[in-house]
């Protein structure tokens, strides 16, 4: 029988020999430790959802429980590159794969304070990012020209819209878009 991953509940720091240990594991092999609140002893060790084995008295290195939404977004855009390659092979139509890197570059320019967008890919091969919050909708599209266009629509009664096109996206240009994009941040 395949041995599933075992995550140990608490690590005992004392010198006493361990006589019985309980582990928790799932059938899918996901490593998961005992969750939260093991004890009322303040100095005792807790483990997190991902079964992090650290202690709270040492700096954390490669903890495995730190996630990065930007990385995930870049990964999804990269996956779209594979979709475009597959479509190209099936259709016999060339798709512009250089736009993948251009869009990844744009993602890395999104200023701090703007919510993480979602990716999209049209049937015509056009890449885009979109935001859909309670206060506004926005989409940023990489056009065939290699430049970007940005559309924002507020969700208040007036439904005010902003459309900017032919944008040569640089960090400073993105900074200047922080104000209109700030409408996305819920009050």
């Amino acid at each position: 029988m395949l041995m599933e991953t075992i995550a140990f509940a608490t690590l005992l720091a004392s010198q006493k020999p361990v006589t019985k240990m309980e582990g928790l594991f799932s059938n899918s092999g996901i490593n998961c430790g005992r969750q939260f609140f093991e004890t009322t002893d303040i100095s005792h060790v807790y483990t997190s959802v991902a079964g992090r084995q650290g202690s709270f008295v040492a700096p954390v290195l490669n903890s495995g429980w730190v996630y990065d939404q930007q990385d995930s977004l870049v990964s999804q855009i990269t996956d779209y590159g594979e979709v475009l390659k597959a479509r190209s092979a099936a259709d016999g139509r060339p798709y512009d794969l250089a736009q993948i890197q251009k869009m990844i570059g744009a993602i890395k320019m999104i200023p701090s304070g703007i919510p993480t967008p979602n990716p999209m890919l049209s049937d015509s091969g056009e890449l885009g990012l979109y935001w859909d919050t309670e206060s506004a909708f926005a989409d940023l599209v990489l056009e065939a020209s290699g430049r970007f266009s940005l559309f924002i629509r507020q969700k208040d009664g007036a439904s005010k819209e902003t459309f900017l096109e032919d944008i040569d996206l640089t960090e400073s240009v993105f900074e200047s878009l922080a104000e209109p994009l700030g409408l996305l941040c819920d009050a």
């Binding site: 019985k20 959802v49 700096p59 930007q70």
Partner: protein, 269 residues
């Protein structure tokens, strides 16, 4: 301003995860955990995947006069219900029914109001089945805030991220490399519900796959002076205590972070 390179986890807010914890006064039996699995259809719309956990108990080394425990004794260790996966590969939300507690984890946090509504609706499904035999003895909130530093680590000025605070040793401002701080304490609370509050404030400047991040994880656990046996009482106590724990969390964050960082995540205390 050097905090331009400081990116809150979700862009406009820093909450990577939020967990609501309820501890049972006495542990659930394996049979009760198996029965809990029958809640799956009622939870399916938010938690389409059910992950049963198994325990394995074994003995290490000979111990004199110790009763023999059968090796490879297996049993059910918990029932976890998972929401749809986020792009990061974790469930968007999780509802865990463990022998010692029930934990609801939100990994796709948007705003407190919508999370609050959802959690209360899930309590209505889970607790009527379990409470009559297993009262709740404590409630808690665990908040993990994360900020990624996307610039040169040498250029981060800790005083631009943190202010001097009761919860942070001064050494962090001079520390040249990674650091971590853990502070925990009890506080006796008389209102709105009498309880002993255990709070933990864990702050770190950490590195993960060469990416530097600031992490603030706070645990707020209220040990009730009286156990809660029914759903109506639990909802009432939950409604009185949890918003207070959320406010305490915001206060602690507000006392740790500088004003510009608070403004970046729209933290108003």
């Amino acid at each position: 301003m050097s905090i331009e390179a400081l990116f809150p986890f979700a862009g406009n807010h820093s909450i990577q995860s939020l967990a609501f914890v309820f501890e049972w006064a006495n542990p659930l039996t394996p049979h009760q955990l198996q029965e809990a699995a029958k809640l799956a259809p009622s939870l399916k719309s938010h938690f389409p995947k059910v992950v049963p956990l198994q325990t394995m108990t074994f003995t290490l080394g000979p111990v004199p006069n110790m009763p023999q425990i059968p090796n490879d004794a297996r049993g059910i260790g918990g029932i976890h219900f998972h929401g749809r996966p986020t792009p990061e590969g974790v469930p968007s939300q999780e509802l865990q029914i463990n022998p010692s507690n029930c934990v609801i984890i939100i990994n796709q946090y948007t705003r407190w109001a919508s999370v609050w509504d959802s959690v209360q609706s899930w309590l209505e499904v889970v607790f009527p089945e379990i409470l009559p035999a297993h009262p709740v003895s404590s409630l808690g909130l665990q908040c993990t805030d994360l900020f990624h530093w996307r610039g040169n680590p040498e250029l981060l000025v800790m005083r631009e991220i943190f202010q001097e605070s009761d919860y942070l040793p001064k050494h962090v401002f001079d520390c040249k490399s990674l650091w971590h701080s853990h502070h925990g304490f009890f506080e006796d609370i008389s209102a709105p519900v009498p309880c002993r509050l255990l709070e933990n404030v864990n702050v770190g400047w950490l590195e993960n796959n060469k990416q530097r991040s600031i992490s603030i994880q706070c645990v707020h656990k209220a040990e009730l002076s009286e156990q809660v046996w029914d759903i109506a009482a639990l909802k009432s106590i939950f409604g009185q205590i949890l918003p207070g724990l959320h406010d305490r969390n915001k206060k602690i964050l507000g006392s740790l972070l500088t004003k510009p960082v608070c403004e970046k995540i729209k933290l108003v205390v």
